[in-house]
């Protein structure tokens, strides 16, 4: 197997105000995947991106990106990365084409090469028609696409996307997702931060959940979901039938959820468990009013992890 493209080893970063943005974070990111950094506001996501993109030095620990140490050889790292920050870092007074070509020139491309690549990228992101208009006439989503395109013109091995779709309308969001998937398919490693769980769920092959600068969990989305338990079946019956229904479903370890007034049972076999439960109810002559097979979402994982971390944090002396 290839070497990992990013290694983050025991990195801490404390800001002057005393905030500890990163607290001994260790991560390994394999080549050619979309990696999601998930965490609430202030978790340290942007600080990590800034360190990986050579904008900040870590206080302690080592970070290697595409084979080079970010502190000792930042120039080599910069040749191999692309960064699209939290806001579209584009020039309103320049056209889409000028914005992208300019970044190409700054990556060290010849004028001819920068112009050619910009044309190809504009085609690829479906902005060829708007390419020669100034960006001040663009929508938010179009600006984001230009921003992303500008970071692609240097053909980076690693692309950092800091909340790429925050403040973008749903349709543009789909476009951006499509673009990111395409990049990963072509072999670019994409590291994206997001507060949107569905975005991580949709895009990321692997996910790290971080909070207070520490790693809470890491793995594929499936692994993370498994960690807080598998699917459940939820059944609603008329109130008078709650007890008989529970008795009928006893073989499946059903319990009555008081809060939501539902009968809940674990569904290790998914739809098969559901069918089994319905058959047991049928034999008891009970007709449910509502049935659902519920798989844990990344929301469940995220909330479970960050809540547990908050409790632990609150317990520690400040």
């Amino acid at each position: 197997m290839d070497d990992p493209i990013i290694t983050v080893d025991a990195v801490t970063k404390q800001f002057r105000g005393g905030t500890r943005a990163l607290d001994g974070l260790t991560l390994t990111i394999p080549r050619g995947i979309v990696y999601g950094l998930l965490g609430p506001n202030g978790a340290g996501k942007t600080t990590l991106i800034h360190i990986l993109a050579t904008l900040l030095h870590p206080d302690t620990g080592t970070v290697r990106v595409a084979g080079h140490d970010v502190v000792r050889d930042p120039a080599a790292v910069r040749e191999r990365i692309g960064l699209a920050g939290q806001f579209a870092a584009v020039d309103d007074q320049l056209t889409g084409r000028e914005n992208i070509t300019m970044i190409g020139r700054l990556y060290g491309l010849s004028r001819r090469e920068a112009v050619a690549r910009a044309a190809r990228i504009l085609d690829h992101i479906h902005l060829a028609d708007a390419a020669d208009r100034q960006l001040k006439t663009y929508s938010g989503g179009m600006r984001r696409r230009i921003d992303l395109a500008a970071s692609l013109i240097g053909r980076p091995q690693v692309l950092f996307l800091d909340e790429p779709t925050s403040g973008v309308d749903p349709a543009s969001r789909q476009d951006l997702w499509q673009l990111v998937r395409g990049l990963a398919a072509e072999g670019t490693t994409v590291l994206l931060t997001t507060q949107y769980l569905d975005e991580a769920d949709q895009l990321a092959d692997r996910i790290a959940v971080i909070d207070h600068g520490r790693l809470l969990a890491e793995g594929t989305t499936a692994e993370l979901k498994d960690r807080i338990g598998g699917a459940v079946v939820e059944i609603e019956v008329p109130a008078v039938l709650n007890d008989p229904a529970q008795t009928a479903l006893a073989p499946l370890a059903a319990r009555h959820d008081q809060v939501r007034d539902r009968i809940v049972l674990p569904a290790p076999h998914g739809p098969l468990t559901l069918r089994h439960a319905l058959r047991l109810l049928d034999q008891a002559g009970i007709t449910p009013t509502d049935v659902a097979l519920h798989r844990p979402t990344l929301d469940d994982v995220f909330l479970a992890l960050t809540r547990a971390n908050d409790r632990e944090h609150a317990g520690r002396p400040a």
């Binding site: 800034h50 993109a53 080079h68 910069r78 960064l83 020039d91 020139r105 060290g108 100034q134």
Partner: protein, 274 residues
């Protein structure tokens, strides 16, 4: 192991400076309202001082001004504008920082100084344009150079060079103060007192003694005197001063400001994040 080609580095830095300069200039040209306003403002300044104060000031003027305030005011205003005209360097960099553009530039394989050199150069080009219009306005208001066109051009050169040096000071301010309103306050707090307590608008000899000492030795007076000497001749200078001596002092200040603030600004740039 790496694909970095060190020989290309030097040439690349020039390209980067050119790309950044062009980018900033394009923004200037495509925001004509900003350019027009920043051109009109110094001309309005000149008109106000000429017509409001001019009459009262006539008597205090040295012989070389021949009783016409415009002769005194014109070189002074050029010196003042050199300082005022450098303020957009601070705003431009601050704006690039807040929009995340500096973050992107810093993540690119380019020389750390290229963004700052490009910014100060584009502001120099912009100021050359505005200064030329100011000279034209001055000539229309009755100013004539008495020391040959060479002296006039040298004066413009000194004013632009000093303004360029001030751009590095402004770059440092723009990168170290994060709030744009605070930047504006800081600039006005420094620029207004320092241009008023100089020989820009009035000869310094009517100021109280302690202020005179400051006013006569501060850089804006020195630049204003240099411009007067170069455009009007030796007679426009205070007793005991020579054109060559003033020019040397003005250039020394210019070089000194760059030497002090260029490294500070580059260091601040390295540390900046949005």
């Amino acid at each position: 192991m790496t694909t970095v080609i060190p020989i290309r580095r030097h040439g690349r830095a020039f390209v980067h400076v050119g790309v950044i300069t062009r980018r900033n200039l394009l923004a200037n040209v495509r925001l004509p309202d900003v350019l027009i306003l920043s051109t009109v403002q110094p001309v309005v300044f000149m008109l106000i001082f000429l017509y409001v104060f001019g009459g009262a000031i006539q008597a205090a003027l040295p012989a070389a001004a021949q009783g016409e305030y415009i002769y005194w005011l014109m070189p002074g205003i050029l010196a003042q504008f050199a300082v005022f005209g450098s303020a957009p360097t601070a705003y431009g960099l601050n704006n690039d920082r807040t929009t995340g553009v500096l973050d992107r530039f810093r993540s690119l394989p380019m020389a750390r100084s290229a963004v700052l050199i490009g910014r100060t150069l584009s502001d120099l080009v912009r100021n050359s344009f505005i200064l030329t219009l100011q000279v034209v306005a001055g000539v229309l208001l009755g100013f004539r150079w008495r020391n040959g066109i060479g002296g006039m051009l040298a004066a413009i050169g000194i004013a632009l060079a000093f303004g360029y040096a001030c751009s590095w000071l402004m770059a440092y301010i723009g990168l170290t103060i994060t709030n744009s309103e605070a930047i504006q306050a800081a600039i006005y707090m420094v620029v207004f007192p320092i241009t008023l307590t100089s020989s820009v608008f009035l000869p310094t000899q009517t100021m109280p003694g302690w202020l005179q000492v400051f006013a006569e030795h501060q850089p804006i007076t020195i630049v204003a005197n240099t411009l007067r000497g170069l455009t009007l001749g030796q007679a426009a200078l205070p007793a005991g001063h020579t054109i060559a001596g003033e020019t040397f002092l003005a250039l020394t200040w210019t070089a000194g400001i760059v030497a002090a603030f260029a490294p500070l600004a580059v260091t601040a740039y390295r540390r900046t994040t949005s």
